[in-house]
């Protein structure tokens, strides 16, 4: 069992609220303690799951309802005291409800006294019905201002019926919707269930005068699915062509790549980027997670990537998987790729991850050359020869007939996609942002999300 102080540090690490020194302490701790490592892995995984829960979308505009209620109250915020939330239902209705209850109780006593011996449960049902029937005209009354209170408060509640009231009565003191759930038709219609216009299929206003709610749409409208393919299908020329065509259609794309072990996936991506002359800078936090083999997601951003380069990178990943699969079936790492346009939400997420908007970067003004025009050219040449001999100059030429290793011409950045750590202080992110180069023509801005397939 980890001491409380240490487990607090681990949770704060998952919260992304530690400074660099504290993070180093945590990483040292998890390197040394398998228990800490295990707990961190699980906490991180739980947090990832929470972050990945779908974001429900409000399927309607509540502003119309709010304004209608406010107009009904005829009030303004400066006179808030006069809009006491307790003034819910006209006093007359409250009194009517109280009278109804008293009447029913009286009637009950009368029947008992007359020897009819009505069962108490039936009495309660009758009472509830009476309350409901008192509710109904109120709710159905088009003249009544559609206040929040009439919508949500029940009469028994307004009449001051408290804990002493039978549970059945309390059930009717809840919102009309709850009553509608409990009672079969025709109450649900009466109480405002959406009614569809037979011709248009569009929801009309309900009997309270509120616009009926359209069904809630949980699907994000921002997702424009363009391509969804298995990585192994990249063996087919047709599939590769599809990706290339898709990339040529726009300037900013998001590619989701699912992977069994993202730490392994990151290492392969690093090698594949390097082969294309792109230096993949990995943020220290992400690197620590790779070293720990955490099952988390990573975001990679590259500002200028040609379709051919991306296909070559994906091809390299596929080659590695093919090699692994030739030894053991289903041992490939990468499973599926989904190519989308980069949405404004993706853009915002990217800014949050990097602490700066990489798409807004401008080329740095060129520094003046350090050539002294008063110095003979031969002296400069001699200096460069000396530097090269010391190992500080430009790399030696490859032997004739051989292509030298591709020198990194640009860089990409990789960060942990799920963590809440602020990246603005990371020196590696700064390095990436400072080394920004003007985007080449025919290339796209690419946000690549390496997603862990959770077991």
């Amino acid at each position: 069992m980890l001491p409380d102080r240490l487990s607090r540090m681990l949770t704060a690490y998952v919260d992304g609220e530690l400074n660099d020194d504290q993070r180093k302490v945590v990483l040292r701790l998890v390197r040394r303690s398998s228990e800490a490592r295990d707990l961190l892995r699980r906490l991180q995984s739980d947090a990832d799951c929470l972050r990945q829960l779908p974001r429900p979308v409000l399927g309607c505009d509540v502003s119309a309802q709010v304004l209608r209620i406010l107009d009904g109250q005829k009030t303004n915020p400066t006179a808030s005291k006069s809009v006491a939330p307790k003034a819910r239902v006209p006093v007359v209705l409250g009194l009517a409800a109280a009278a109804a209850v008293l009447f029913v109780l009286g009637a009950g006593v009368y029947f008992v006294a007359m020897g009819l011996k009505e069962p108490p449960s039936q009495l309660a049902v009758q009472t509830g019905d009476l309350i409901a029937s008192t509710d109904t005209p109120e709710l159905d009354d088009p003249e009544l201002p559609p206040t929040l209170e009439t919508k949500r408060g029940g009469l028994s509640e307004q009449a001051g019926l408290g804990a002493s009231v039978q549970p059945e009565l309390l059930q009717h003191s809840k919102s009309p919707r709850v009553i509608a759930e409990e009672k079969p038709a025709p109450l649900p219609e009466l109480l405002g269930a959406p009614q569809k216009d037979e011709n248009s299929g569009v929801s009309k206003e309900n009997s309270l005068g509120f616009p009926a709610r359209p069904p809630v749409d949980f699907r994000s409208p921002a997702v424009h699915l363009t391509l969804n393919r298995l990585v192994r299908d990249l063996d087919l020329e047709k599939r590769r062509q599809e990706i290339e065509d898709e990339l040529r259609k726009g300037e900013a794309r998001r590619l989701d790549l699912t992977c069994k072990e993202t730490a392994v996936g990151m290492e392969r991506l690093q090698a594949a980027f390097k082969a294309q002359g792109i230096r993949l800078i990995v943020d220290p936090g992400a690197q620590a997670h790779i070293n720990l083999r955490l099952k988390t997601d990573y975001a990679l951003y590259v500002d200028s990537l040609s379709p051919r380069e991306l296909l070559a990178i994906l091809g390299d990943l596929r080659n590695e998987d093919r090699k692994a699969e030739s030894k053991r079936r289903d041992s490939g790492q990468f499973e599926r790729l989904v190519l989308n346009v980069m949405t404004p939400e993706d853009h915002q997420r990217l800014i949050k991850l990097l602490g700066q908007d990489p798409t807004e970067l401008k080329p740095k003004p060129k520094a003046p050359t350090e050539i002294d025009i008063h110095k003979p050219l031969s002296e400069g040449t001699a200096d460069r020869v000396i530097d090269t001999l010391k190992g500080q100059g430009s790399p030696p030429r490859p032997p004739p007939g051989q292509a030298g290793p591709k020198q990194p011409s640009q860089s990409a950045i990789a960060v942990d996609y799920n963590t809440g750590h602020s990246r603005s202080t990371s020196t590696d992110v700064k390095l990436f942002l400072e080394n920004w180069k003007e985007r080449r023509t025919g290339t796209v801005q690419m946000l690549l999300i390496l997603r862990s397939i959770k077991n």
Binding site: R8, L53, P54, R55, V66, L70, T78, R152, K174, R336
Partner: protein
Amino acid sequence: MNPDDHRLIAECLQGRTAAFGELVRRYQDRLYNTVYRLVDNSEDAQDVIQDAFLNAYQSLNSFKGDSQFFTWLYRIAVNTAISFKRKRRVVLAIRSNRPGTGDSEPLDSSEFSRPEHALEKAEQERRIQGALQRLSVEHRTVLILKDMEGQKYETMAEVLQVPIGTVRSRLHRARLELRELLQQDEE
């Protein structure tokens, strides 16, 4: 504070309710996700959002502008959702002998189309949402604010009107409790 918000609030205080409608439209979607996760029901979430805006309107004159308008609004919405949830818990305790009518968890249509993947994901979402709902409302709130809304400790403290240390401790306990619940599920 956002100058647009400032202007709209000033107009509201002058009695122009349409300006408030603009504020509602601006923030309703951002509030909805948090409230939905807190109350775990889409219709309740809409009711809570509506109440929160009405409460906000009624106390708009008390908004001093020393924090972002959204943070202030967010605080009202979270408090409204928490008190709704507490009231609902009492009612549910009374109604516990009746079958529930909770919303089923929506599937993420944007997820990759492999059917078993979608099922696994749906199952995982169900588990995590189930565990989340079993947490106390305080613990659930901090987890939602942190992990789903990405808020910093400072903002959370402002929203919940508690010291930062309390936020930190609550999150710590919430994470461990959530882990324990998920562990129980796994076993």
